[in-house]
C-alpha cells in the first residue's frame, strides 16, 4: 500500500542555527513541488546553518527526489551550511549510498547522534 509522503520542519532544541526536516512516506516526482517549496527557503535563510533530515519514516525515494536532495545539498554548501542524514532505513541507505550521497553527506543512526554532532 502506498504511504502518503509528507515533510515537516522543526526547530532543534539547543541548536539555534539548526532545523530538522522530517521526511516520511513514499516520495517520488509527484511530491517534488512540495519538497522544493518547503526546503528551498531553508537554504535561503541566513539564520539556518545546519539542516538534519530525519528519515525514520521515509520508505521510498526515487531518483528525482535524490536529485533534488543533491541539489539542496549544493545550495546549502554554497551558503556554507551543512546537511545531515539521520535514521535512514536499510533500503533508503542502499540507494543513497549507491548514488554516492552518503560519501558527501554525514549520516547518523539516531537523531540524537546527528544533533550531538552539530557545532
Amino acid at each position: 500500500m502506498s504511504v502518503t509522503p509528507s515533510i515537516t520542519i522543526h526547530s532543534a532544541p539547543g541548536h539555534a542555527g539548526a532545523k530538522v526536516a522530517t521526511l516520511s512516506g513514499e516520495m517520488d516526482e509527484t511530491f517534488l513541488p512540495t519538497l522544493e517549496k518547503t526546503l528551498d527557503p531553508l537554504a535561503a535563510q541566513p539564520a539556518v546553518k545546519q539542516v538534519v533530515f530525519d528519515l525514520t519514516d521515509l520508505v521510498f525515494v526515487n531518483s528525482k527526489v535524490i536529485g533534488y536532495i543533491a541539489s539542496f545539498y549544493s545550495s546549502l554548501k554554497q551558503g556554507e551550511k551543512s546537511l545531515f542524514f539521520a535514521v535512514a532505513n536499510e533500503t533508503i541507505r542502499d540507494i543513497l549510498s549507491l548514488v554516492g550521497l552518503t560519501a558527501i553527506i554525514p549520516q547518523f543512526d539516531t537523531l540524537d547522534q546527528a544533533l550531538a554532532s552539530l557545532k
Binding site: 526515487n62 543533491a70 545539498y73 549507491l98 548514488v99
Partner: protein, 280 residues
C-alpha cells in the same frame, strides 16, 4: 487495467494511463511480483525502484499526457525475471531508443555525485540489473526491458534446515549402549526442531527431511517433534504425522509433540491424534 496470465511462462501484462499518479500502483505491483518470486527484501526494493524509474521515464519522455498509455509486462522464466515497458512515443519531450541509450551511457559515466540529474536511472539499471535492452517498441515508441537473474544473493534464504539433537540422555548411560538404557528404563531421546510455517509450499521439503531423520533413529527410542517455533501447520502435515506415528510405533519408537501452540493442539485434537500421540 488488463491482467493476463499465460500458460507456459508466468506473465503479468498491464496497460496503464501515462500518468505519474499511477507510480504508486506500479511500485506496489512490482514489489509484490518480486516478493512472490522469493526475492529478498533488499532486492524487492531495488527492483521496485528500477521499475519506478522506467515507468517515470516512459511517461515523461514517451507519452502524450492526455491520451497516452504505457504497457508493462512482468515475466518469469528459466532465465529469471524480466520487466518490460513500452510507450507509444509522441510525448512533448520525446526521445528515441538510440538517444535514450546514448543518454544512459553518458549518465552512467557521470561521476559528479552532487549533480545526480539523470544519474539515478542510469546507475541503478547498470548496477542492479543483469541485462538492460533498449529498442523500438511495436507501439511506435521505446521499449525498455531488464532481466534480473534469480541468483543466490537476490533471493530469500531457503527455509531453515531441520536439526536433530539428542536430548535427555542420562549422562551415566552412553547413548551407544541402548541395551543399558533399556535396562535402566530409559530410551534414547531425540528432538526435531521445526521452524516457521508448515504449509503447501514448505511441506514437501520439511516432510522429506523428517522422514530421512526418522530412518536414522534407533529402535526403542523416543522422538519429540518440537513445535515451539511453528506458527501454522496444514492438514496434509497432520496426515504425515499420523503416518510417521504408525511407522515409529512399529519400531517401538515413541512419538510425542512438544511445545505445540493451542491452535496446533486444536488441530491434532480435531483429528483425534492427540488421543494416541503425547502432546506436551
Amino acid at each position: 487495467m488488463i491482467l493476463k496470465k499465460m500458460p507456459k511462462q508466468k506473465i503479468v501484462q498491464l496497460t496503464l494511463p501515462a500518468d505519474l499518479s499511477y507510480s504508486a500502483i506500479v511500485r506496489q505491483l512490482a514489489e509484490s511480483f518480486f516478493e512472490m518470486h522469493r526475492f529478498n527484501h533488499v532486492w524487492c526494493h531495488r527492483l521496485k525502484l528500477v521499475v519506478d524509474e522506467l515507468f517515470m521515464n516512459a511517461v515523461k519522455y514517451g507519452s502524450s499526457p492526455d491520451t497516452g498509455v504505457v504497457h508493462l509486462e512482468l515475466t518469469e522464466d528459466d532465465a529469471g525475471m524480466t520487466f518490460t515497458i513500452q510507450d507509444h512515443g509522441g510525448g512533448a519531450q520525446a526521445i528515441s531508443a538510440s538517444e535514450l541509450k546514448a543518454l544512459m551511457q553518458k549518465n552512467t559515466e557521470n561521476q559528479d555525485v552532487a549533480r545526480t540529474s539523470g544519474r539515478g536511472l542510469a546507475i541503478i539499471t547498470h548496477l542492479w540489473t543483469d541485462r538492460l535492452d533498449i529498442g523500438d517498441s511495436e507501439y511506435g515508441g521505446v521499449k525498455v526491458s531488464f532481466l534480473k537473474k534469480k541468483d543466490k544473493e537476490a533471493l530469500q534464504p531457503p527455509p531453515p534446515k531441520i536439526a536433530i539433537t539428542p536430548v535427555s540422555v542420562p549422562a551415566a548411560i552412553p547413548v551407544s549402549k541402548p541395551a543399558a538404557l533399556a535396562a535402566a528404563g530409559q530410551r534414547p531421546a531425540y528432538r526435531i526442531q521445526l521452524q516457521g510455517e508448515v504449509d503447501q509450499y514448505t511441506i514437501q521439503e520439511k516432510s522429506r527431511a523428517i522422514e530421512q531423520t526418522i530412518a536414522q533413529l534407533p529402535d526403542h527410542s523416543e522422538l519429540a517433534l518440537d513445535f515451539k517455533d511453528v506458527t501454522y501447520v496444514n492438514s496434509v502435515f497432520i496426515g504425515h504425522v499420523a503416518a510417521w506415528f504408525n511407522q515409529l510405533n512399529a519400531r517401538d519408537i515413541r512419538l510425542k509433540l512438544a511445545h505445540a501452540s493451542p491452535e496446533i493442539k486444536d488441530i491434532f485434537d480435531l483429528v483425534g491424534l492427540s488421543q494416541v500421540i503425547g502432546i506436551d
